[in-house]
Symmetry: C2
Subunit: 158 residues, 2 copies
Amino acid sequence: MKIEYQPIGFVRSPHQTTSGTPIQPSRARGIEGAIEIADEYVEALTDLDGFSHIIAICHLHRASAFKLKVVPYLDTELRGLFATRAPSRPNPIGLSVVRLLGIDGRILRIEGVDLLDGTPVLDIKPYVRDFDDRTEVRCGWLDEVRDRETAADDRFER
Amino acid sequence: MKIEYQPIGFVRSPHQTTSGTPIQPSRARGIEGAIEIADEYVEALTDLDGFSHIIAICHLHRASAFKLKVVPYLDTELRGLFATRAPSRPNPIGLSVVRLLGIDGRILRIEGVDLLDGTPVLDIKPYVRDFDDRTEVRCGWLDEVRDRETAADDRFER
């Protein structure tokens, strides 16, 4: 079974290489960029400016082939891939909750950019607290390492 | 530019038809189901049992062709598609934050199931509060209608 998608737009970002790129939007505060939506979808952006945050679902085009276990950026031990947010995955889909600064025509200005310049965007969704927030969560190995400082390096880059 | 994905597994759910299915996991409390992961990826589930919630990224295979503006389940007005969580999208990708009840081999037992039985799963990510939660968010038109009761009907089904 094959599933075929096409980009609805592309990321514009100051990050040209994986090394040094923040590993998540929550660690990319103040870093601004944009999503350029294809002309044919501009009408679908109506009403989006009422939302402070959006979920950008992207195809991580620079990710290397996946492995079943990886050493994540924030850890020093091998972890099961699906227990990590490593970009090299069977389907290299990235999920970024970014702040929406404004919309100018087909350009979404965003803050908290953890994506490489040129990353294809597959979908934009409004971030909705009632749908996307959970309280009282356990975060496994990540609960132990949450305060570590780190940025990406080239371990997951092809 | 074409992007090709393959399912890593499939959803098992009590929901056989779109009509009546909860529109989000947060409105599907107590509804249990499973994700059956393909054998080749079972090793990648290591460490995932430390997390209370996972993000299931799915291909919404029963969604109809998209329109640029839609009347969402929770509203009575036309809204820009990307300002809604309607399943009919240029790339029909669904995002569900569900509770992980347990892992038995290749079976992830989950709660909060808003997905149809047989839905192809593209990716599983651990839900991480620091990465995925945002405080002080504005949710546009959805802030006005958040307390409305609703379930899906067939408006986005093919």
